[in-house]
């Protein structure tokens, strides 16, 4: 059934492609044209004859499920991958075959990669001008770079000290900086690969402002995102890739959300997740007066069996720190944790694991993946005992379990032996969730669990979470996506500046209420004003 619809769309798109190809050749309206671009990795056909044309000065959204090949397509454009022979790329009407990013940059392309990892040892300004340092004679002109960086950041509304080392800059700020950097290139086309995964609402709006400003200068943007809201808010056109194949391009104004989802997943689907109620049991976990000076203070909450407990707040509110302390990764200095009414000590993650607490961390690269190890190894690590036969690990058993997880979560990977670094971002995230599901946890902590995950998979993960709750597990979920928290949680704790502002019931929780609480009340606190003015003075200096 599926394959039939597929082949029909295929035929259809092939036909339109043909016409397009002919029209495109003469179309000077386009900054970028990609024709029949394919890319094969060992064991994976990541792209299969994809066509894409981007009109000058337009914002072009690129959508598709995890592993559809979006990032791969962009990496080809940026000279990071060489495409298979047979395809053609034209940039500004001229043939374009970048061998390395430097070629792309010189031609007028800039990119914000999906996994930003700035050189942590360099300052903000040094990162900003990396690869294109301003020189005075043979020496670098450090002060000029600082000044110009400062100017650009101020103009874009991201005031900060440009001499700070990147390792002291939050993920969100780093993401905004990456965007600012790309913008500052004298580019004709900017690629943004999931630029909002690390951002909260307020920063997302900042990003919108930047993107609009950029467009006003006549620069085209390819905008990859899994968030429909953003796509409809920002883009002029939207293209969809599915399983490495080009599905089609539409004007954003000509398409509905439902149609777009259908294009992506090949079937109808509800975007809004409707959670069903679950019977909530006795108190399972209780946290009392948990504090870690400088990070969070005096946190109190309890979670019951079958309950989904959300934690909301702005970036930097200390949400991650609280759950990290709960799990023993960065233990709290004072406070108590009670499980089943008994006080327990958690000093190290293995203590938490013993009490069957699972933890999907927020930073895939830093604390999640073992990049050069197999999918299986990544899944089974927290608890090896179940796979042991006569004290030796049975590869077979591990593989079987991993395979069943692969099917259950629809993880897109050639085999479970594949090195996890070769999976697409979303699929990596699924593996991490699988890891902790395998532990059969009583309490599952999820920090930004759907970061970079596509709509279909998101729904599946939500279902899974609810299913776990139904089985009497307690779920703690930290998320910057307000809708996610609102639709999933039974109660939501709101944090601001390391303090617990309050806990809201499902019935009372609205976006406005939570945002207001997260901002730390009605008026900005004194410290915030201080910080703001500090930024200003630093900006001027």
């Amino acid at each position: 059934m599926k394959s039939k619809t597929n082949s029909i769309t295929l035929l259809f798109s092939n036909f339109t492609q043909l016409i397009k190809t002919i029209t495109l050749m003469t179309n000077s309206d386009c900054i970028l044209e990609m024709i029949n671009v394919s890319k094969t990795f060992p064991g994976v056909k990541a792209l299969d004859k994809v066509n894409l044309s981007i009109r000058k000065g337009s914002i072009h959204a690129l959508m598709g499920e995890n592993g559809a090949g979006k990032s791969t397509l962009m990496k080809i454009l940026y000279g990071l991958y060489t495409p298979d022979a047979g395809g053609e790329i034209f940039f500004d009407g001229k043939p374009f075959n970048p061998k390395a990013p430097i070629d792309a940059i010189h031609t007028g392309l800039a990119m914000v990669p999906q996994e930003i990892s700035p050189s942590a040892n360099l300052s903000v300004a040094a990162n900003f001008y990396l690869g294109r340092e301003i020189k005075k004679g043979i020496l670098m002109d450090q002060s000029a770079m600082n000044e110009k960086t400062n100017d650009i950041l101020k103009e874009l509304g991201i005031p900060m000290s440009v001499e700070t080392l990147m390792q002291n800059v939050s993920v969100a700020k780093a993401q905004l900086l990456a965007i600012a950097t790309a913008v500052s290139y004298d580019a004709k086309l900017i690629i943004m690969d999931e630029p909002t995964t690390a951002l909260t609402e307020s920063e997302v709006h900042q990003l919108y402002r930047i993107v609009k400003k950029v467009q006003e200068r006549g620069i085209a943007i390819i905008y990859i995102s899994h968030k429909l809201g953003e796509v409809f808010e920002l883009s002029d056109e939207v293209s969809v890739i599915r399983d490495g194949e080009y599905i089609g391009t539409k004007k954003t104004t000509d398409i509905t959300k439902e149609e777009l989802i259908n294009m992506m997943v090949g079937r109808d689907m509800d975007e809004m997740f409707q959670r069903e109620d679950v019977i909530i049991g006795e108190t399972l976990l209780e946290v009392r007066n948990l504090s870690l000076p400088g990070k969070f203070h005096d946190i109190n909450f309890s979670v019951r069996k079958g309950e989904i407990f959300g934690i909301a707040g702005l970036v930097g509110a200390g949400r991650s720190e609280v759950v990290e302390a709960l799990f023993g990764y960065k233990p709290a200095e004072s406070g108590e944790i009670h499980l089943h009414g008994k006080k327990i000590e958690i000093h190290k993650p293995c203590d938490a694991i013993k009490h069957r607490i699972g933890f999907v961390t927020e930073d895939r690269k830093l604390t999640g993946l073992m990049l050069n190890m197999s999918v299986t190894d990544n899944m089974i690590m927290p608890e090896l005992l179940p796979y042991e036969k006569h004290h030796l690990i049975s590869e077979e058993l591990a593989r079987d379990v991993a395979n069943s997880m692969k099917d259950q979560l629809r993880i897109k990977t050639p085999t479970v032996e594949t090195i996890i670094g070769n999976l697409s971002g979303g699929n990596q995230q699924k593996v991490l969730i699988a890891r902790w599901l395998l532990l059969e946890p009583e309490i599952l902590i999820l920090d930004e669990p759907t970061k970079g995950i596509d709509i279909g998979a998101k729904a599946e993960i939500y279902k899974l979470i609810v299913e776990l709750a139904r089985l009497g597990k307690a779920i703690i979920i930290v998320s910057s996506e307000m809708l996610e928290l609102l639709s999933l949680s039974d109660r939501i704790m709101v944090m601001a500046e390391g303090r617990e502002v309050g806990i809201v019931d499902r019935d009372n929780a609205t976006q406005e209420v939570i945002l207001e609480m997260a901002a730390g009340g009605d008026v900005p606190s004194q410290e915030e004003q201080e910080l703001e003015s500090e930024y200003q003075t630093q900006g001027v200096a």
Binding site: L369, M370, I393
Partner: protein, 324 residues
């Protein structure tokens, strides 16, 4: 589409085989080439002789592989060989009987473990890069070896003791038997036991390992103790083979051992490596040494050729992988 996929799958298969067994291929090629050049190179006698010569630094290389897989390194193993040989020889000198022999081997391994324990503690708890910790230990262990022996070789010609290095079981030299036993044990530890998994996890991503409940410090400690004990064992083996302990023994062996591990595909970035491939790496070095000696190559040229073969083998391997 289906056909293409299966063709792809087959291609993956080849790539994987090349990845896994590329170095084995190079070893076989090297061996065959030398067998054609040299009469009797492909004889059992010669193969055992190569294995015997390889056994000692090969055992060290196994220990070093563990350290490298965690993302660390062990530069002290050559010096530990010297220290263990001196200690072993002083115990066994003038004695008879297998009791003392076993005691001497045990003592050598114990001394090695102590060095490893110190390496490990400094690395795991002091958070000092293992390069520096083991570099310091390298200097210290050799100093202690000279102190203990007063800078002179110590005779170790107890019949029982030297019979380990001299004797053979069913035609297989004693040292080779030890090598094989150590290799099998360590291979199982690395690939089938949770200790081994933890070693890989630490090398793959320390933070993740921590999150997954791995006791990073204890695991590192174990790794360096193992590496030290194996170096100590190699020291005892060398002592039994050379009829003496000597503070000059094991000079630069650490580099040969590391080269063997890396030639075998162990990644210095951590997270990748295996015992069988480490053996292949050691054998490549051993076959090369033997071949060059038997060909009577000028010692100056030997060094040059050795350097080229080491680089060449790794280069070839990397190239093949990239293409596939």
């Amino acid at each position: 589409m289906i056909k293409e996929a299966s063709a792809n799958a087959r291609k993956t298969h080849y790539t994987e085989i090349l990845n896994k067994y590329g170095m084995l291929l190079i070893l076989i090629l090297l061996f065959s080439a030398l067998s054609l050049k040299i009469d009797g190179f492909a004889s059992f006698r010669n193969i055992f002789s190569i294995l015997e010569q390889v056994s000692m630094f090969g055992i060290i290389a196994i220990g070093v592989t563990f350290a490298i897989v965690t993302g660390g390194i062990d530069l002290s193993s050559g010096a530990v060989v010297a220290l263990a040989s001196v200690v072993g020889a002083s115990i066994v000198t003038g004695t008879e009987g297998y009791g003392m022999t076993i005691f001497a081997f045990g003592a050598a391994m114990f001394v090695g473990s102590i060095c490893g324990l110190i390496n490990g503690s400094i690395t795991a708890y002091g958070r000092i890069p293992p390069f520096i910790a083991t570099l310091g230990m390298m200097t210290m262990a050799r100093g202690v070896a000279q102190l203990v022996s007063n800078g002179r070789p110590i005779d170790a010609s107890s019949d029982a003791f030297t019979s380990i290095g001299d004797g053979s079981i069913f035609g297989v030299p004693g040292l080779v038997v030890i090598y094989v036993l150590v290799a099998i044990t360590c291979h199982i530890m690395m690939s089938r036991m949770s200790f081994g998994r933890h070693v890989f996890a630490i090398g793959g991503n320390v933070n993740t390992a921590k999150i997954c409940g791995v006791n990073v410090e204890i695991t590192l400690l174990k790794v360096y103790i193992l590496a030290g004990a194996l170096a100590g064992l190699a020291g005892a083996m060398l002592t039994s083979r050379a009829y003496a302990g000597n503070p000059t023994f094991g000079n630069m062996w650490e580099l040969d051992a590391i080269a063997a591990a890396v030639i075998g595909g162990t990644s210095l970035a951590g997270g990748v490596g295996s015992v069988p491939m480490c053996i292949v790496g050691a054998l490549i070095i051993g076959v090369m040494n033997k071949g060059l000696n038997m060909l009577g190559v000028d010692p100056y040229w030997q060094q040059i050729i050795k350097g080229m073969i080491i680089i060449g083998a790794v280069l070839l391997d990397a190239q093949k992988r990239k293409k596939a």
